[in-house]
């Protein structure tokens, strides 16, 4: 039976199939069905499209819980089920799902956040002409994201990887008539593809060395022959990391994420907080086995020996975290602050993977998904209330007028800042700091602490300026609370920001990466302070320092005092350290110049000189040659006689 028919048959089987992988297929296909039917025509009815889309994703969420529970209760091993996709010679690519701790947890995050965001969107986008299209795109996005989560091989992951890229393109460019949105969508997609460029090359290297693209197959092969990749081991790892670099917006491909805020705010919450950007980190964890093998470099890069791919990944992550945090400090647009904060946190996660703590990274990914979605949706509520005003300096005093939003936003801020004990962010951030310490990267640990200090600073700057003090514009003074469809998701997301901490997720994830893992004795909510007091203390200290500084600088001011004090450094931070300008000034013109050069060569050399030249010279030659036919008999007879002489000479020589 071919795969397509199989998928249809699968979709038709009852949801309560006994096999977890069937359930996973069903979860995957639900949003696709919603998206396809919306595209096919349902989109004309706003109600139907929203219902269909939300229904599908909520159903998927429920099924994800059903899939998750057995793991929570002790776990089972799922057999990947596969359908043939491409089988040619040595290349065997199947469509298969991997159901394990990692993917099931991720399923929960994706379907959960997606459900809430979609519910929120019904109110946020009310009246927009592209309402149906929006839900179609977002369902497509959810489908693609679920595909990444469930993929059991690199190629399938790559397929959905690209699909995520395109669906995010559609969502960012949702208001395509706005040039800035259209440009941002284009930029996001292209930057992502730049990363995918390396990703696929990495896949090819891994495939040719291990003969498989399946995670399980690769793991087996590498377990048998850790040196299978030979001198390309590190390069392959870094190339695969390129994919993560694009999706998770790591330096130097981070430039697209802030621009992507041109999309509708719920989209930002879904894509740029919880799911798409997390995909990179998820992939790193998924393919972690490739990064674990001993590093090796080809001869020309021999000077790098001793440095593994993971070290470089960690360094890039740490650098991104710091860079983004610095940029966030001087942004005025509420969504951009959150965007840079996201960048910073993603850098954190990548750093964790690089330091050998994928579990910590996944942990932070999980908690961050919750509170960052919350923050974005909160920001959306604020923007909605202020009539699409996004500058925090034109807000103020909103805590009174938007009580629900304010409270939930505050919870999110606390979680992001890593308020100890109470919030989930604390635990996950702590896990990262611990892994940096354990992994033997003191410098990165210091960097992490520094970023941990910046985080509360810029978040509290945002909260203080936007929610306290006097209203600085008409819009802010007349703001009123958002409708229930928007506030309830906020409340729902506030819960895990606080509560996830107590579920023991860290141990749950560690068990995935280390089969011999045993939970520490005496865990509980004070666990961090028991096991790695140094990290916990530093983390808490950084929070206190950052928070104090924020209150000190921003409480009660009407205008940002930092530019005056920091001068051009502040300008640089505000202007994102001129990376966009650098790219605009160097790479874009360079590429255009090559294009121009090729265009000129094509036009003047190939079409002109060669084709027209040959054509022209042949025609000219013909015009010249026919002058031999003078019409004069004397010429003819002479040529005839001469011809006879020549032919006879030629023949008798």
């Amino acid at each position: 039976m071919d795969a397509h028919a199989a998928q249809h048959a699968l979709a038709a089987t009852p949801a309560f199939s006994s096999r977890p992988e069937d359930l996973a297929w069903f979860i995957l296909l639900l949003p696709l069905i919603a998206s396809a039917s919306i595209a096919a025509g349902v989109r004309r009815s706003t109600f139907l499209s929203a219902t269909l889309s939300i229904g599908a994703v909520v159903a998927a969420f429920v099924l994800s819980i059903a899939l998750f529970l057995p793991f929570g209760l002790g776990g089972y091993v799922a057999v990947p089920s596969t359908f043939s996709w491409i089988h040619a010679g040595d290349l065997n690519v199947d469509l298969g799902v991997a159901v394990d701790r990692l993917s099931v947890l991720m399923l929960l995050i994706v379907t959960g956040v997606s459900s809430l965001v979609q519910i929120y969107s019904t109110a946020y986008l009310k009246g927009d002409s592209g309402y149906g299209r929006y839900f179609g795109s977002i369902s497509l996005f959810t489908f693609a994201m679920l595909g990444i989560v469930l993929a059991d091989n690199l190629v399938m992951m790559f397929v959905f990887w690209e699909l995520v890229g395109v669906s995010s393109y559609l969502l960012i460019g949702f208001w395509f008539e706005k040039p800035s949105a259209a440009d941002a969508a284009k930029k996001a997609f292209l930057t992502n593809r730049l990363g995918d460029f390396g990703f696929l090359l990495g896949i090819l290297m891994v495939w040719s060395a291990t003969g498989s693209v399946q995670f399980a197959g690769i793991a087996n092969a590498l377990a048998l022959h850790p040196a299978a990749l030979g001198s390309l081991a590190s390069i392959a790892g870094l190339l695969i990391f390129c994919g993560a670099m694009g999706k998770s917006a790591q330096f130097p491909l981070h430039v697209w994420l802030p621009d992507a805020m041109e999309g509708p705010t719920p989209v930002s919450a879904l894509i740029h907080a919880a799911t798409m950007v997390a995909a990179g980190v998820y992939m790193l964890c998924r393919a972690y086995v490739i990064f674990q093998i001993p590093g090796a470099w080809p001869a020309p890069l021999g000077f790098l020996s001793g440095i593994s791919a993971l070290d470089i990944i960690a360094a890039i992550g740490g650098f991104t975290a710091l860079l983004a945090a610095l940029m966030a400090v001087q942004q005025d647009d509420i969504k951009r602050i959150l965007a840079y904060s996201t960048l910073s946190q993603l850098g954190y996660m990548v750093m964790a993977v690089g330091c050998g703590g994928p579990a910590a990274a996944m942990y932070h990914l999980t908690t961050h998904a919750g509170f960052k979605a919350l923050l974005f949706l909160g920001a959306g509520a604020v923007i909605h209330a202020c009539h699409h005003e996004q500058n925090i300096w034109r807000m103020g005093g909103l805590w009174r007028r938007l009580p629900v939003t304010f409270r939930t936003f505050a919870i999110g801020t606390a979680a992001l800042a890593g308020l100890p004990i109470l919030t989930s962010g604390f635990y996950s951030k702590d896990a990262i700091l611990v892994s940096a310490l354990d992994g033997g990267h003191p410098v990165l640990f210091g960097l992490g602490v520094l970023v941990a200090a910046f985080t509360p600073f810029y978040m509290l700057r945002l909260v203080i300026v936007a929610f306290f003090g006097p209203a600085r514009s008409d819009a802010a003074s007349h703001a009123h609370e958002a409708p229930a469809a928007m506030t309830w998701p906020l409340i729902a997301l506030a819960v895990p920001s606080v509560a996830v901490a107590w579920l023991g997720l860290g141990d749950f994830l560690s068990a995935h990466f280390d089969p011999h893992f045993h939970a520490h004795e005496g865990g509980g909510i004070f666990g961090p302070f028991n096991h790695a007091p140094l990290a916990a203390m530093f983390g808490t200290g950084a929070l206190l320092f950052g928070a104090t500084a924020a209150f000190g600088v921003y409480w009660g001011v009407a205008k940002d005092p930092l530019p005056a004090q920091l001068g051009c450094l502040s300008r640089a931070m505000r202007d994102r350290f001129y990376f966009d300008e650098l790219y605009e000034a160097v790479f874009v013109p360079l590429h255009d110049m090559i294009g121009r050069l090729c265009g000129a060569i094509d036009r003047w050399v190939f079409s002109g000189l060669i084709i027209r030249g040959v054509h022209g010279s042949v025609e000219l030659f013909g015009r010249g040659l026919r002058l031999v036919q003078t019409g004069n008999l004397q010429t003819y007879t002479f040529l005839f006689a001469a011809g006879v002489a020549v032919v006879v000479l030629l023949a008798t020589i």
């Binding site: 004397q634 002479f638 006689a641 001469a642 006879v644 002489a645 006879v648 000479l649 008798t652």
Partner: protein
């Protein structure tokens, strides 16, 4: 000691070539009539060569048909059209020179090849008499002869067609 016939050969050959030359490239006159007259002389001296080669019938035909009929036709046309000398347009010396070179090359090739021509038979016994020729003509060469009759018919029709007045 050359025999008389040998001398005759040289005489006729020389005459033939001289008249031929004067026919095609008379330095003194470019009048077609002169050319025609020298052509007649060439033909007649050739008839002499024919006699030396024992082709008596052909020698007679040569004189009768060529000199008597064909050349008269030429002269008749020249007179009819009242063609005078080739008008003294500027002679294209270069063209004639190149032509001469080409023709000389051709002549060189021919002479070089023919110099070594050897007879296939050692003794010459044939006699080009009317009787012997007639026998061959009407046996082995009957078919070309008949084809020639068609050719003559065509020529006749053609000449009539070409020279009659336009009729609409």
């Amino acid at each position: 000691m050359p025999e008389f016939t040998d001398l005759l050969f040289y005489a006729f050959a020389g005459l033939t070539l001289l008249c031929g030359f004067l026919c095609v490239a008379n330095p003194l006159s470019r009048n077609p009539v002169t050319s025609a007259m020298f052509l007649v002389l060439t033909i007649i001296s050739m008839a002499g060569l024919f006699v030396l080669l024992h082709a008596f019938f052909l020698a007679a035909v040569q004189v009768l048909v060529y000199a008597g009929a064909v050349m008269v036709l030429f002269l008749f046309v020249i007179m009819l059209l009242n063609i005078k000398e080739e008008e003294r347009r500027k002679m294209n010396i270069a063209a004639v020179g190149v032509g001469a070179v080409a023709v000389a090359t051709l002549a060189g090739i021919l002479v070089r090849a023919l110099w070594h021509a050897t007879p296939l038979a050692t003794t010459a016994t044939v006699e080009g008499s009317t009787r012997t020729l007639g026998r061959i003509l009407f046996t082995r060469y009957l078919l070309p002869f008949e084809v020639l009759s068609v050719l003559l018919l065509v020529a006749m029709v053609g000449v009539i067609l070409l020279s009659r007045k336009e009729l609409k």
